[in-house]
């Protein structure tokens, strides 16, 4: 009887397998660094992401390997992570178990995302249900734990290592029943090991409203935090809002943003469950979601078909400390001279007060030009950058210095690209660049096949303080060789 049942099941499986198709694809990123220091320290990294689909079943498998040699950190911390998710996903519904990314609204209440370029993977692991309802409505409910994997100073770290057992449960409703009207509501409850009692959990909740008429669209979102102080207890609350207005005509658009975040970033410290937007173009944030308010504008225009203009302005300050803040503005022009030239120039002005640790003020004025010329299959490009930097430390020291960078590139078709680059600073800065003043580099990128790209980088990189979407890190200077192979599977 059992044997017959087995036969029936296997024959049914064969029939189903013949009808449906297993689809597997993904990406593998393999990279190795060799540093030209006294011990030739090394770093090996591989990140494999596979997606599997079989009818209404979806699966994801991710393998991450990080093997640094000891000199990269005081203690060698290799990392091997195996991630997976399984989902049943017919048209109107999805139930997923495993690792996933999820935003609620603009991220004032919950934001778990990945940024491959910045090597930042803030993911959730748990159960998620999604219902896609009529009238442009979607409901998401989840119960999950957070993992914030971040690359800083040449080492991957779990930013929430001490809080990795914290748990969140939440739901999000988003709806756009009419073209001119949309709304959403969301709630997240976070239970932490630090909470002094079962009742001492933290709640983040909020809502949003969207309306549009003609060329104008308005969006507003609010968030509220109710909770207890970590460890000690006591009431702890926060409130924040983000709003933007967009005016867009053919060839012209303006975006205005305003925000005020007072203690909604949770928990305070190295990572947050939520990540609200910043108006600063270069991605700098003040005291992310915890103590910042600001505004920004972006205007774009295409007065001629070959001419593109853009102007950005953003400002962030803290609520009480007027000495802390960020101001950035940028003007950009791009012109296509037919048939084969493209010129781009922009000027960026960025002032950071009390943003970097130990730096009271850093002001940078930076003009950049970029020229691209195409002759048949051959592409020639030049990028030149100059920056005047005025920097003062919190101890009263000050530096005025000039930074310059230039890069020449040659490309053949879409398959080959060679770049020669050089960076220079005219003052020896032990604090910022380990006393180095010049950084030559050569890079080759070869698309071996449509599915495989090889990148080899040899030389030195200046490093420094860089940001993306409000998250910042210090990149350590580098001298050596980097080899990267990206494969589409």
């Amino acid at each position: 009887m059992t044997r017959r049942l087995t036969v029936v099941v296997l024959l049914a499986a064969a029939a189903v397998a013949g009808a449906a198709q297993l689809n597997i694809n993904g990406v593998n990123r393999a990279e190795t660094w060799v540093c030209f220091d006294s011990v030739y320290s090394t770093l090996v990294e591989d990140k494999l992401d596979l997606n599997l689909r079989y009818g209404d079943l979806k699966g994801q498998v991710g393998f991450f390997l990080f093997e640094p040699s000891k000199p990269w950190d005081d203690v060698r911390k290799p990392m091997r992570l195996l991630d997976y998710s399984v989902a049943y996903s017919p048209d109107q519904l999805e139930v997923l178990y495993g690792r996933f990314y999820q935003d609620f609204g603009k991220g004032l209440v919950l934001r778990a995302y990945k940024d491959d370029d910045f090597r930042h993977y803030k993911s959730l692991f748990g159960l998620r249900g999604t219902a896609r309802l009529p009238l442009g409505t979607e409901v998401v409910a989840l119960s999950a734990r957070l993992r914030d994997l971040f690359f800083q100073e040449n080492v991957y770290k779990l930013m929430n290592l001490s809080d990795s057992s914290d748990q969140a449960m939440g739901a999000n409703l988003s709806s756009r029943p009419l073209r001119w009207l949309g709304f959403g509501g969301r709630y997240v409850r976070i239970n932490r090991d630090l909470d002094p009692a079962p009742k001492a959990f933290t709640e983040l909740f909020g809502g949003d409203l969207t309306t549009s008429f003609g060329p104008v669209e308005l969006y507003g979102e609010v968030a509220r935090r109710l909770g207890t102080g970590p460890g000690l207890g006591g009431r702890s609350t926060g409130f924040g809002y983000y709003a933007n207005a967009t005016l867009a005509y053919s060839g012209f658009s303006v975006l205005g943003q305003v925000m005020d975040y007072d203690s909604i970033g949770f928990p305070t410290g190295l990572y947050h469950w939520n990540d609200p937007p910043t108006p600063i173009k270069s991605g700098v944030a003040m005291n992310r979601g915890v103590d910042e308010r600001g505004f920004g504008f972006v205007a774009t225009a295409t007065p001629l078909s070959a001419l593109y203009l853009e102007a950005d302005y953003g400002r962030l300050v803290t609520h009480d400390d007027t000495s802390a803040g960020v101001v950035e503005w940028e003007g950009k022009a791009r012109y296509d001279l037919e048939p084969s030239w493209t010129f781009e120039a922009y000027f960026n002005h960025l002032v950071q007060n009390n943003v970097e640790l130990g730096t009271y003020r850093r002001a940078v004025d930076k003009p950049v030009v970029h020229v691209n010329h195409l002759v048949g299959q051959h592409t020639f490009a030049f990028e030149g950058e100059y920056a005047y930097v005025d920097e003062r430390s919190t101890h009263g020291d000050s530096w005025d210095y000039h930074e310059a960078a230039a890069a020449l590139s040659y490309g053949y078709g879409a398959g080959l690209l060679f770049t020669l680059g050089y960076q220079y600073v005219d003052v020896v800065l032990d604090k910022r660049y380990n006393g180095e003043t010049s950084w030559p580099i050569v890079e080759a990128v070869w698309s071996v096949t449509e599915r495989n790209m090889l990148r080899v980088r040899l030389g030195a990189e200046r490093g420094g303080y860089t940001c993306s979407g409000g998250v910042c890190r210090f990149e350590a200077p580098f001298k050596g060789i980097k080899v990267q192979l990206i494969s589409r599977i």
């Binding site: 013949g18 689809n23 694809n25 990406v27 990314y101 935003d103 009419l178 303006v254 879409a414 698309s447």
Partner: protein, 187 residues
């Protein structure tokens, strides 16, 4: 016992056969919102005609140049069923910028937001711009990586390979309707 082994072998062969029978890679289906909040599903769009799926973001100059260059080709071939998806992989914080940029450009395409970069991951997109031409059977029949001026003529040749010789049927002799969101919204 032998029968069950035979059935197991059949199952394996059937599965492998199904996986290997196709000449082209199958396109992964997805549902995303566009910049206006309307929902689009790839499989629904493919019922109307082939889809050219291009991945772009705001800093990608070549992506924008390609999408600009494809406008006249799209307007010429849209009556034949061609559809183009401009798949933005910009971050959620840049959504308003994307919306303003797209409105300023007045691209006639469906501009979808892949803010979590799930579709980008599903399609294994490494370089921007990368674009796929997906035929009405849901197969990726052409991949275009990078962009330089003049590439649009090569892309057009591929479009013509996969489009019908005559414009697709339209009511009362009018031009074929453009791709519509799944649930037309009220006004």
């Amino acid at each position: 016992m032998k029968l069950s082994r035979l059935a197991l072998a059949l199952a394996v062969v059937a599965g492998l056969g199904a996986a290997l029978a196709e000449d082209y890679e199958e396109a992964v289906d997805f549902t995303l919102l566009d910049v206006n909040g309307d929902k689009y599903t790839l499989s629904e769009m493919l019922k109307r005609g082939p889809v050219y799926l291009e991945c772009w973001d705001l800093p990608c100059v070549n992506c924008i140049a390609e999408l600009d260059a494809l406008v006249p080709i799209f307007e010429e071939l849209e009556p034949y069923g061609l559809q183009i998806i401009a798949l933005s992989v910009d971050k959620p914080a840049d959504e308003a910028k994307v919306r303003a940029f797209v409105a300023g450009k007045q691209w006639p395409y469906v501009c979808l937001l892949d803010q979590q970069q799930e579709v980008k991951g599903d399609y294994g997109i490494i370089i921007k711009p990368t674009a796929y031409l997906i035929n009405t059977d849901g197969e990726i029949v052409y991949t275009h990586i990078g962009y330089k001026k003049g590439d649009e003529e090569r892309i057009k040749e591929e479009f013509l390979r996969w489009l019908p010789d005559e414009p697709i049927a339209a009511p009362e002799g009018e031009a074929a309707p453009p791709a519509e969101p799944e649930e037309p919204e009220g006004e």
